[in-house]
Amino acid sequence: MDGMDRRRMLEATAALIGLAALPAGAFAAVSKRPPVLDRPGLALLGAVADTLIPRTDTPGAVQAGVPDKFHGLLRDWANPAHRTGLVAALGKIDAAARSGAGKPFALLTPAKRKQVLKAYDAANYPANPDYVRLKDLLVTLYYFSKPGATVELRYEHVPGAWEPSIPLTRATRTWAGAAG
């Protein structure tokens, strides 16, 4: 990796997940376990999450803190086989970017990233279990997040009533919370 690429990668990381303000050891401070991903890995994760669920008229995965939470899952939740598979799934997306667009995924423009991920998704969903798991976890973390549940979707922790029939229009948002 040349100096330019490295600097751009660090900038990308900083922009995506605010890592520049956060020492790498900060993850270890809240968890007993060491971080799973290094800085390029975190940049890749941030770029994939941002491409899968971008900011639109509502916050996207990065604004919802999904990359950090996903890194937490890798560290504190996934078993070794799934951890390896999830990291490998990210690596394969990066490899697709390098072979298809000549650069690491995190260094591509948003439009190019989307092109790469869209093609990768079409070829790997639902055939590739590691990618399916990666996508499912990122999606779940986003729609469980406060912005995902309350700004993108609608969530009431205590609905207080059951209304079995309400009008459905194009403006109606899906309820967040328990999957159904």
Binding site: T51, L52, I53, P54, T56, T58, K69, G72, L73, D76, W77, A78, N79, P80, H82, K114, L117, K118, D121, A122, Y125, P126, D136, L137, V139, T140, L141, Y143, F144, S145, K146, A149, E152, L153, Y155, E156, H157, V158, P159, G160, A161, W162, E163, P164, S165, I166, P167, L168, T169, R170, T172, R173, T174, W175, A176, G177, A178, A179, G180
Partner: protein, 559 residues
């Protein structure tokens, strides 16, 4: 010296304690697990974004400590405190005969995590053994249970409709939780296509309109959160912690001890009567004996059988109340697994709130006609709009994926069958000859398989579910055809069955042990057949009824 000891604080023990206390008996409740405080120990305040690890238990911990429990749909980070660690509570199954024993050892037991579906057995169910010769004839009929069903339904609060079905008797219900428009459509399609089948609203132990006797206990109306398995701080569904134990304690007659594992029931060799219960402290291992005039065994179907088997003595080498050799035998669970899911067209409407209940299709097989096999099955289901999780489980990325998830998905119908498993004496629980758990209690061996009729029910329920989903114009998107291992229905029953003949049954018509007149078993162990309905209401009705009879026998000096 107590008047009564109740072993177990779950669904059955909670009601037994309340009823015995209300009848003036000084009663001790023994719970093997830790104390759980209603409200303060619950996790129902956690918002989705507060859930650790997206509500998953770390996978290595799940594999190590919960290989059986994790099969249950309700196991999550938010409910982790309510499931036993299988690693601490081992049992053995023969090669190729898995049994999924799903349990929680804490005050209130599985009444905290139960599915809350609440149905009566019918005359058809209680006469089924006599009619086809499988199992021992129930020594009671519907008329014996009906007033106790009334009594318990009124106390616990059950939302539902009186549907006028002989195979699923009406009861004392609070207002029903209405159907979605998709469910109404499904209902009319099924009832039109299949005369004799009915699609009704599920009957569930939730307060839709709390009565004064509910609010007196601090219980509030259902808030439609569907976070029930975490414990409900509103006390909106019946559990031992929200409902029966508070009612028991306010009598001033009931004492609860936790962390005491019932080891055995002690008897007087001269009279053969129970004198008390020997317990082991789960933390210190210290042994204690509690004495009482009457013992209620409510430790769950398999737990109660284990205690009886472990209560062997010189006079009772095979275990207590086991002259018939029926203790531990006839283990049943509901035939469960086949599920069909489909998407269907319907009106442009949605729903608000998370209804903790679904639709129900009561048994229709072998009700009027003879379908060529024995007994039958019912279905639990729902028709709701597909939610975000399934909306997102499609190819696609970026703004288009967000757009796809943002809008409520198509109407989605799902049906799961629950079938009546025949009693079979070879399906049994025994004590392991040598293995002991960490408290020195014999480990259990559970040997239980589905029989031919049970498997036939599984095949038929799958066919019927498909046909009903298709009749509603739906496209099938997913189906599960296999039977789950027995146990995973979490309706285990039958290990100390009621019957008329002491030679072939353990308990008489009062849930009283034939051989030990001051011992009553009122949990699922007592069930002589399983019906296909969710059984908790019947355990509670039997517990209340037996408490009445025990109290009368004590007064009369006959036990």
């Amino acid at each position: 010296m107590f008047d009564a000891i109740v072993i177990g604080s779950g669904m059955s023990g909670g009601i037994a304690a309340k009823e015995l206390g209300e009848r003036g008996l000084k009663t001790l409740v023994i719970e093997r697990g830790r104390k759980v405080e209603h409200g303060t120990d619950y996790t129902d305040q956690l918002q989705p974004w507060d859930l650790p690890n997206a509500n998953g238990i770390p996978e290595e911990e799940l594999e190590r400590d919960y290989p059986i429990q994790r099969q249950c749909y309700a196991v999550s980070a938010a409910t982790q405190q309510y499931w036993v660690k299988d690693s601490e509570h081992p049992y053995t199954t023969p090669e190729g005969k898995p049994f999924s024993w799903i349990r929680g050892y804490h005050l209130g037991g599985r009444s905290i995590m139960w599915g809350r579906q609440t149905y009566r057995l019918s005359e058809m169910d209680l006469s089924s053994n006599a009619r086809d010769g499988h199992g021992a004839d129930w020594p009671i009929r519907y008329a014996d249970l009906a007033p106790w069903y009334d009594h318990v339904e009124t106390f616990i609060g059950v939302s539902g409709n009186n549907d006028g079905l002989p195979q699923l008797p009406d009861g004392k219900f609070l207002p029903v939780m209405p159907m979605t428009d998709g469910e109404k459509l499904f209902q009319s399609a099924v009832e039109k296509s299949f005369p004799g089948r009915r699609v009704i609203m599920g009957r569930a132990a939730h307060l839709t309109d709390p009565q004064p006797h509910h609010t007196e206990l601090g219980r509030a109306p259902c808030q439609y959160r569907s976070l029930c398995e975490r414990g409900c701080s509103f006390g909106a569904y019946h559990s031992s912690l929200s409902s029966s134990l508070p009612a028991a304690l306010r009598t001033g007659n009931v004492t609860i001890v936790t962390d005491k594992i019932a080891h055995s029931i002690l008897t007087d060799p001269k009279t053969g009567k129970a004198t008390g219960v020997r317990v082991i402290d789960q933390h210190t291992g210290e042994g204690t004996t509690y004495e009482a005039k009457v013992v209620f065994l409510c430790a769950s179907t398999i737990g109660s059988a284990a205690i009886l088997l472990n209560s062997h003595s010189e006079a009772n080498p095979r275990g207590l109340a086991n002259g018939s050799d029926m203790v531990g035998r006839n283990l049943m669970d509901h035939v469960y697994g086949p599920t069909v899911v489909g998407t269907m067209n319907g009106p442009d409407t949605y729903h608000r709130g998370r209804r903790p209940n679904g639709i129900y299709i009561p048994r229709y097989r072998n009700v009027i006609s003879d379908d060529g096999y024995l007994r039958g099955y019912g279905f639990q289901g729902r028709v709701m709009r597909q939610g975000w999780k399934a909306n997102a489980a499609v190819p696609g990325v970026g703004a288009e994926l967000k757009e796809q998830v943002r809008h409520p998905g198509p109407w989605t119908v799902s049906l799961s069958g629950f079938g009546e498993m025949l009693p079979n004496p070879d399906n049994r629980v025994t004590l392991h000859a040598s293995k002991k758990d960490k408290w020195g209690m014999p480990e259990l061996v559970i040997d239980c398989v589905h029989g031919e009729n049970d498997k036939e029910l599984g095949r038929r329920m799958l066919e019927d579910a498909r046909a009903m989903v298709l009749a509603a114009g739906a496209t099938i998107t997913r189906e599960a055809s296999k039977l789950h291992p027995p146990g995973l229905g979490i309706h285990e029953m039958g290990t100390a069955r009621m019957g008329r003949d002491p030679k072939t049954s353990v308990l008489n018509q009062y849930n009283q042990a034939h051989e030990v007149p001051n011992l009553f078993v009122t949990d699922g162990a007592a069930m002589a057949s399983s019906g296909c309905q969710n059984p908790s209401l019947t355990y509670m009705a039997m517990s209340a009824r037996a408490a009445y009879h025990a109290s009368e026998f004590l007064k009369a000096g006959t036990i």
